[in-house]
């Protein structure tokens, strides 16, 4: 067919040509083979589902995930504010598996041989044609070795992977006396969920204001300023939680006395009643095992058309582990997963992947039980720079609102429906 769709649009518009059938029937995918997906978070679950859908069931998809439940990080700060229960954010994988014929191995990966394409787990091993890893983040405990043990993390929770850690931090806030000091540290960017720490400050402030109004919050931020939605958070803290939040920029944690709950920066020692250290982060352990975290030995460089690793062949990397100027958010993880799934189906049926992928990111932060605010952007592939760049029109809310609070709930319900059923 000599006229492509784009040309046709123009012709149709200018000549009102009504009779030619417009879109030629695209051939259904002929992709065959096996894709192993390591990780069942937002990115891993999404890539597995869309690989099955877009290959019309032609690809065998096997997910390897040690956990039996999916616990959403988005909305988990609301557990700290007392506005959600962790069980509201906890789901199984049954519908995802059964609706899409995804095979599932509940085990932990111990090694990967990329040259012979073999994944070894505790109980078994698997071969693959292509491998997708969605390993999330790992904490760089070599910088804070006193927090390495699970006992230390009980005492000083990170609560940066939702689940038992979130519940633990909530319980500590519940037991804190009125007039107590909650101290939270934020690592240098990049880290998972750029506005997340500041949303957490709002949620803890909401809880304390309504229950323990004489308490204080000290925020030790390793960054020079608030990383995301700065103007909005600054205003909310001043207006809704006046006098409660003491924000200290350029404050990197260098030492923690776990038992005494004293945290040291280069400048000062701060004593806490409840201490929440969010450690510095890098690509998840699987990426390290593979040797795929080639950027600063932290993050993974990928081809943004396929999400294939720049250093390990036939291995695709999606989600928070990717080195990019894209925010490490759940919506972003699912968007990357879909580009990756579509590209793998194309590559495995000897077709070209989309040469100019475009996707969206919408991220809400709750500043109270009901009020939320957004940052939203469309990202387009820049063929010259070979990266995803922000399109025109992106930005943040003018102010938090109840309407956006409702949309944030709708976002969560819809993304859970898409990712998990």
């Amino acid at each position: 067919m000599a006229i492509d769709r784009r040309d046709f649009l123009k012709i149709a518009a200018s000549t009102a040509l009504f009779t030619v059938p417009l879109i030629s029937k695209a051939t259904l995918s002929q992709a065959k083979g096996r894709v192993v997906v390591i990780g069942g978070g937002y990115a891993g679950a999404t890539v597995a589902k869309y690989l099955r859908i877009w290959s019309n069931g032609g690809l065998d998809v096997i997910v390897v995930e040690p956990r039996t439940q999916f616990v959403s990080c988005p909305l988990s700060n609301l557990v700290l504010g007392g506005n959600k229960n962790i069980n509201d954010l906890t789901f199984g994988y049954d519908l995802l598996k059964s609706n899409h014929g995804i095979q599932w191995i509940n085990d932990e990966v111990i090694s990967i041989d990329a040259s012979s394409r073999v994944v070894k787990m505790n109980q078994s091993e698997l071969t693959y044609d292509r491998l997708v890893i969605a390993p999330g983040i790992d904490f760089m405990y070599e910088q804070l070795p006193m927090l390495q043990s699970s006992q230390s993390q009980e005492e000083v929770p990170h609560a940066w992977k939702a689940g038992a850690q979130t519940v633990n931090l909530r319980k500590k806030l519940e037991s804190m006396k009125d007039g107590g000091v909650f101290v939270m540290s934020i690592p240098k960017a990049p880290y998972r969920c750029p506005p997340g720490p500041y949303e957490r400050v709002c949620q803890v402030a909401f809880y304390l204001k309504n229950n323990k109004p004489n308490s204080k919050i000290i925020v030790l931020d390793a960054n020079a300023e608030i990383v995301s939605k700065k103007g909005l958070f600054t205003k909310v803290w001043a207006e809704m939680y006046a006098g409660m939040i003491d924000y200290r920029p350029n404050s990197s944690v260098v030492d923690v006395d776990v038992a005494a709950k004293i945290v040291k920066t280069e400048f000062e020692s701060v004593k806490a009643n409840v201490l929440n250290i969010i450690p510095p982060q890098r690509a998840g352990k699987i990426a390290q095992i593979l040797g795929a975290s080639n950027v600063d030995k932290r993050w993974c460089e990928v081809d943004f058309l396929t999400y294939e690793s720049k250093v390990v062949q036939n291995v695709h990397i999606i989600g928070d582990s990717v080195s990019a100027s894209l925010p490490k958010s759940a919506h972003m993880a699912t968007s990357q997963a879909r580009v990756c799934a579509n590209a793998i189906v194309a590559l495995m049926s000897e077709q070209a992947p989309d040469a100019t992928p475009v996707f969206a990111n919408t991220c809400y932060s709750y500043v109270s039980d009901k009020l939320a605010m957004h940052v939203a952007n469309v990202y387009r592939y820049d063929s010259a720079k070979k990266i995803m760049v922000s399109a025109e029109g992106g930005g943040v809310s003018d102010k938090p609102s109840e309407l956006e609070g409702n949309y944030a709930q709708a976002w969560a319900k819809n993304i859970w429906s898409d990712v998990l059923t």
Binding site: A26, T90, P357, T362, L403, A410, W411, S417, D418
Partner: protein, 126 residues
């Protein structure tokens, strides 16, 4: 009356795409076997975070599946030029090309309306 008002605000370029779109929709909707291009598959799937799988929202946002295509285009153009106020949709509408908006309209109009599933909550085991 509202449609005329919205149309008056469309730019000339938008209008060309818009007219072209009507021509497309007549043919496209008649053929259920049309498969979207990879570009539109990926872009449309990106809407799922708020609007559900294939545009079948579980609630709180518009259902896009089976939505009248001309309505979709008009609303996106209205978000784009500000004649319809929004919280986030103007950001998304401005980031897309007119062609992408037309193609998304066709894609979502083709999707079957189904009852979307909510994954059941579980008690945290760990």
């Amino acid at each position: 009356m509202k449609i005329q008002w919205n149309l008056a605000k469309l730019t000339h370029k938008s209008l060309l795409g818009f007219v072209g779109f009507f021509v497309i929709s007549v043919n496209a909707l008649a053929d259920e076997n049309i498969v979207a291009t990879p570009h539109i598959q990926i872009l449309a799937a990106s809407c799922a975070a708020c609007h559900g799988s294939q545009g079948n929202s579980v609630g709180g946002t518009s259902v896009l599946a089976g939505l009248d295509a001309s309505h979709f285009v008009l609303q996106m153009m209205a978000f784009r030029n500000g004649s319809r106020s929004s919280t986030v949709m103007h950001r998304h509408a401005k980031g897309l090309t007119v062609e992408e908006i037309n193609d998304l309209a066709v894609y979502f109009a083709q999707q079957k309306r189904v009852s979307p599933l909510n994954p059941p909550n579980q008690r945290l085991a760990e």
